[in-house]
């Protein structure tokens, strides 16, 4: 009979190499948490230099705090190290999902972020001092310090390379943090073999490791509910916010000093150049309108068009109709978006209505008229949005536009979807409106088109609000000129019972793919 023999004592050198590998892994993980927090902070809160410095500073000082606290940890060092790894795995691993979930749901995101940074930093700060003490008996002090610290810094290099090149592009922030947590937990588990003889109650310790590994694996599986891997691959920048509302998938990505909003995968704006789009959408209609007191914004739940509207001092009341409460909540609750729209939706002059624009207009009392109407729907790529570009809709718009009023309608790209663009103009004309199409260059979108309409014939407007970043009275007339590659093409009228625009649009964009 042979009894299970205790693990043959490894050659001391091999075991030491293994322990240094563990140090390398641990320090790589530590750096990735730091980078993830820094990236999230700069994405979410904007002003990347300040946020990044703040997070790094906090994180490093928290590590210092951890190192200082390590003096109160005594006895059972190996076991405590395993527990520490499990704590880092849980807190660090779930930090990004937690931030992802709180972002946009809590009023004060910053305290949550900083508390997490301090907590993870402190735990990570405990790691190296404990390790040094565990290895104290095995190596001479000068060799120990030299080796551990050099491996630690090497780990930092590995982490700093993996994070931007492999982890974030492949996994996204949420999965990166969970995967790194998993590495910490596995290091903990591995340590129970490397230092088996120093750990009492081994099965129980290993069971705990197993439980944390399972939790993190569950987290990885559940991460699909936040963002799917396929979705991460779809966007060129990391996703920092994503919600499936009742109507659409709302995704915010951030990187390279700006952030972007996507609805169902289609870019709505980039913080870099949205001002060009929104100035072009809003101000020509204000210049064309006889009065500017009652304003209606249809779509545009991001609040950016309302921001431009509120620059006009004559405006007394703005009604914003956007079907999706999740969109208007995003405009108010998410700091980076609220910063960009200047808190427009909180202005006392603004009333937010979450309703289908067609149903809302149809239910409006006949006498209710608006001086300026801004129509900012997503492009007509589905039948449910396409209905908002039909004669039926534009007749309702006509009926609720003041006789002296003006409306501007985002009309997709006259360059990339030329027939679609002119189909919108044709449809507006059929609804009895006078149309002046115009276009503007918005780098994120390309050449973008709009339709300015009134109930009476009118000339190209002038007298823009002074002090705009993009538009001025000097450049405005040029926007109404269409070169040969943009000029009018024949198109059918878009009606509820043909939705021809959706077919045009799909054909034109498919050609580009």
């Amino acid at each position: 009979m042979t009894s299970p023999s205790p693990p043959a004592a490894r050659p001391a050198a091999a075991r030491t190499t293994a322990l240094f590998t563990a140090v390398l892994l641990v320090s790589t993980c530590g750096l990735v948490y730091e980078l993830a927090a820094g990236a999230l902070a700069s994405y979410v809160l904007g002003d990347s230099v300040t946020q990044f410095s703040l997070v790094i500073g906090l994180y490093l000082s928290a590590m210092g705090l951890g190192a200082w606290l390590s003096r109160w940890i005594d006895g059972q060092l190996a076991r405590r190290f395993v527990d520490l790894e499990l704590a880092v795995a849980l807190v660090g691993g779930f930090s990004a999902p937690l931030l992802f979930l709180t972002f946009g749901r809590v009023a004060h995101f910053r305290p949550v972020l900083f508390a997490l940074v301090v907590l993870v930093g402190t735990l990570v700060g405990l790691e190296i001092p404990l390790f040094l003490r565990i290895l104290r008996q095995r190596l001479e002090f000068k060799e120990l310090v030299a080796k551990v610290l050099s491996v630690d810094y090497l780990g930092a290099l590995v982490g700093s390379l993996l994070f931007p090149l492999l982890l974030v592009p492949r996994l996204g922030l949420v999965r990166t943090s969970l995967a790194i947590g998993l590495v910490n937990a596995l290091v903990g588990l591995w340590t129970t073999w490397l230092l088996a003889e120093e750990i009492r109650g081994l099965p129980w310790v290993r069971a705990r490791c197993g439980a944390v590994v399972v939790l993190l694996l569950l987290g990885l599986a559940g991460a699909d509910r936040l963002t799917s891997l396929g979705e991460e691959a779809l966007f060129s920048d990391p996703i920092i916010y994503s919600r499936q509302s009742a109507y659409q998938r709302i995704v915010v990505t951030a990187g390279r000093g700006s952030f972007q909003l996507f609805l169902d995968g289609n870019l709505q704006f980039s913080s870099l150049d949205e001002y060009r789009y929104h100035e072009a959408l809003v101000h020509p209609a204000f210049a064309a309108a006889g009065r500017r007191e009652e304003v209606l914004v249809l779509g545009g739940g991001d609040g950016l068009a309302v921001r431009e509207v509120l620059r006009h001092p004559e405006v007394r009341r703005v009604t914003l109709v956007d079907i999706d409460p999740a969109m208007t909540a995003l405009a108010v609750d998410v700091p980076m978006v609220r910063q960009l729209n200047g808190g427009a939706l909180l202005d006392p002059r603004v009333q937010v209505v979450n309703e289908d624009a067609m149903a809302w207009l149809a239910a409006l009392p006949p006498g209710r008229r608006f001086d300026v109407v801004v129509v900012d729907f997503p492009d007509p790529n589905t039948f449910s949005v396409g209905k908002l570009y039909t004669t039926r809709f534009y007749r309702l718009l006509h009926d609720h536009l003041a006789p002296e009023g003006a409306a501007a309608i985002q009309s997709t790209s006259p360059l990339l979807a030329r027939t679609s663009f002119w189909c919108i103009a044709t449809t507006l004309e059929r609804a009895g409106l006078f149309v002046r199409p115009y276009h503007a260059a918005v780098p994120s979108f390309g050449e973008w088109g709009f339709s300015l309409v009134r109930r009476v014939p009118f000339a190209v407007p002038s007298g823009l609000l002074p002090g705009l970043r993009y538009l001025s009275d000097a450049v405005l007339p040029g926007l109404f000129e269409f070169g040969p590659d943009l000029s009018r093409v024949p198109a059918e009228v878009n009606r509820l019972d043909n939705q021809i625009l959706v077919h045009y649009y799909e054909a034109e964009w498919r050609r580009l793919e």
Binding site: D356, A359, A363, F383, R392, L496, D497, V502
Partner: protein
């Protein structure tokens, strides 16, 4: 009837493709509730045993209309327009409408039967008038009707599920061979030719109402052959073209290709447009119950529901109607100058047991239908082309489903909630057998049929259903088998018997709202003529 196993049930009602996908053994309990209803249950059949108590009271009316479906209500509408206001309409059901009834729920109204009205051609004056009264059309400056965009069926109108995904349109183009496409082209060319064809008197080959169409012998000869034979003589033998054409037969007539008159089948395709293009349709969440509600409002208190007529007797002058509350109570004898019997011929022959009517009743055959309304809390998964108004499953014997909220921008439920109305016409050759099958069907069996049918296209449909209600129509719609439409019995059936006039869509041999309206107006105008009321005909 012996109990069918689950698989046999699917095979019988929905065909081999749906049955093949069925899990064997007893299915787990369905995670939703519902009820079963049907016009034929109880009430209608009480007619057969009705000995008729001696009426306790008597009254008089100038005209009594028996039957509050579209035909009866249209007769009343026509009388009112001519200033004849002393009439009564007696409807057996709890609500008027016949096969155009609808229902209501927290999310939306929905149809239980007929659910659209094709935009009329200018020759159909009465239908045009109706559309104007409904606020669905107005007269344009050129004198032609302009239809309200909001009430025209929105795009996308149709999609078809083939293989594993949905495609736009009704014809299953996916996977069609060159020969399939050629056959479709041939069929469409023939339809275009028939749409453009005018006879020596300038009438369309096929028209709605059919009375406006040609009765040339070479066209009516099409009624003597089946649609299967017609396709065969043109060499159209492919599965796809046959499925496509048969879908029309099942949808409008509840018949298979071999049992449908070729004239009737071609009428479906070639009666409504000049160019064979797709029809423009008017539709509403509650379907044709919208029309019923309008006509019922016009009739006002003269319309009585829950009124069980037990006999109609022609007198030397005028006629006598005995009616009792359907829920029980004393009967009433109404003596009228004229009576309009706006009920199916089979019912007419029971109320008025005249040898002519009884002979006709044997030739008039109505098909059985199963209709289900699915209240959905959210839309199920769906691959390919997005949801349309009419959603058809290739390879199933069901007719697919229509979406009640297709025409509305705002409804009473959470986003994504809706009601789907699923239709199945029982095309069994023996209408009696189909009827017995249908009445033997429990709620659970019916619900399983619906779920099994939809699961192919929507794997998670069961989890999306809030409730599922079923209506069993024992005798839903007249079936135009070969020889019926232009046979002697159908053509003579509209002739009055003394002062009893007849109105019902089955007098056309085609189950269409416009035909019901036409016969209602015709019967009313016959009465107006007898009473020497001067009025221009709306026909």
């Amino acid at each position: 009837m012996t109990r069918l196993s689950r698989r046999e049930l699917l095979l019988t009602f929905l065909g081999p493709l749906v049955a093949a996908g069925c899990r064997s053994g007893r299915a787990p309990a369905l995670p939703f509730e519902g009820t079963v209803a049907g016009a034929d249950d109880g009430l209608g059949h009480r007619l057969r045993q009705a000995a008729g108590p001696e009426p306790a009271r008597s009254s008089r009316a100038e005209v009594v209309v028996v039957g509050g479906g579209l035909a009866g209500l249209s007769a009343a509408w026509r009388l009112s327009r001519a200033g004849l206001e002393d009439y009564r309409v007696l409807e057996l059901g709890a609500a008027p409408g016949g096969t155009s009834v609808g229902g209501t729920g927290p999310v939306t109204a929905f149809p239980w039967g007929a659910h659209y009205l094709p935009c009329p051609q200018p020759h159909a004056r009465a239908v045009e008038l109706l559309a104007e009264e409904l606020g669905a059309a107005r007269r344009g400056s050129d004198g032609r009707l302009v239809f309200d965009e909001a009430q025209l069926c929105r795009a996308p109108q149709e999609r078809v599920f083939v293989g594993d995904r949905w495609y736009e349109g009704l014809y299953p183009r996916a996977g069609a061979t060159a020969r399939d496409r050629e056959e479709l082209e041939l069929f469409q060319a023939e339809v275009r030719r028939l749409c453009a064809l005018r006879d020596a008197r300038g009438r369309r080959a096929f028209a709605v109402p059919m009375a406006h169409g040609s009765d040339d012998a070479d066209l009516t000869a099409l009624d003597r052959i089946s649609m299967a034979e017609w396709l065969e003589t043109r060499g159209l033998r492919g599965e796809r073209i046959r499925w496509f054409v048969e879908y029309g037969c099942r949808d409008d007539y509840g018949l298979g290709l071999a049992d449908t008159s070729a004239w009737a089948a071609l009428h479906y395709h070639a009666s409504r447009t000049d160019d064979g293009g797709p029809d423009d349709l008017l539709t509403w969440p509650e379907g044709n119950a919208r029309i019923v509600a309008h006509l019922a409002r016009r009739a006002g208190p003269r319309l009585a529901t829950g009124a069980l007529v037990t006999s109609v007797r022609p007198l030397a002058r005028g006629a006598e109607v005995v009616v009792a509350p359907a829920g029980g109570g004393p009967a009433e004898r109404i003596t009228a100058g004229q009576v309009v019997l706006a009920v199916p011929r089979t019912v007419a022959a029971r109320l008025l047991p005249h040898p002519r009517l009884q002979a006709e009743a044997r030739a008039f055959e109505a098909g059985a239908w199963l209709v289900a309304n699915l209240g959905l809390r959210r839309r199920p998964r769906s691959r390919g082309f997005p949801e349309a108004w009419d959603n058809v499953l290739h390879g199933s014997r069901s007719l697919g489903y229509v979406v009640a909220t297709h025409q509305v921008d705002r409804h009473g439920g959470p986003p994504g909630a809706t009601v789907w109305t699923w239709y199945l016409s029982l095309t069994a050759r023996d209408a009696g057998e189909a009827h017995r099958w249908l009445l033997g069907l429990s709620w659970r069996e019916a619900a399983e049929l619906v779920v099994a049918d939809l699961r192919r296209a929507h794997p998670d449909i069961e989890q999306c259903i809030e409730r599922l209600d079923v209506w069993r129509w024992g005798h839903a719609m007249i079936r135009p088998r070969p020889g019926f439409v232009f046979g002697p019995l159908r053509r003579g059936a509209a002739e009055p018997l003394g002062d009893v006039h007849f109105a019902h869509t089955d007098l056309s041999g085609l189950p269409l709202a416009e035909e019901a309206q036409w016969h209602g107006i015709r019967a009313a105008e016959e009465i107006l003529a007898r009473r020497r009321v001067r009025t221009d005909s709306l026909l």
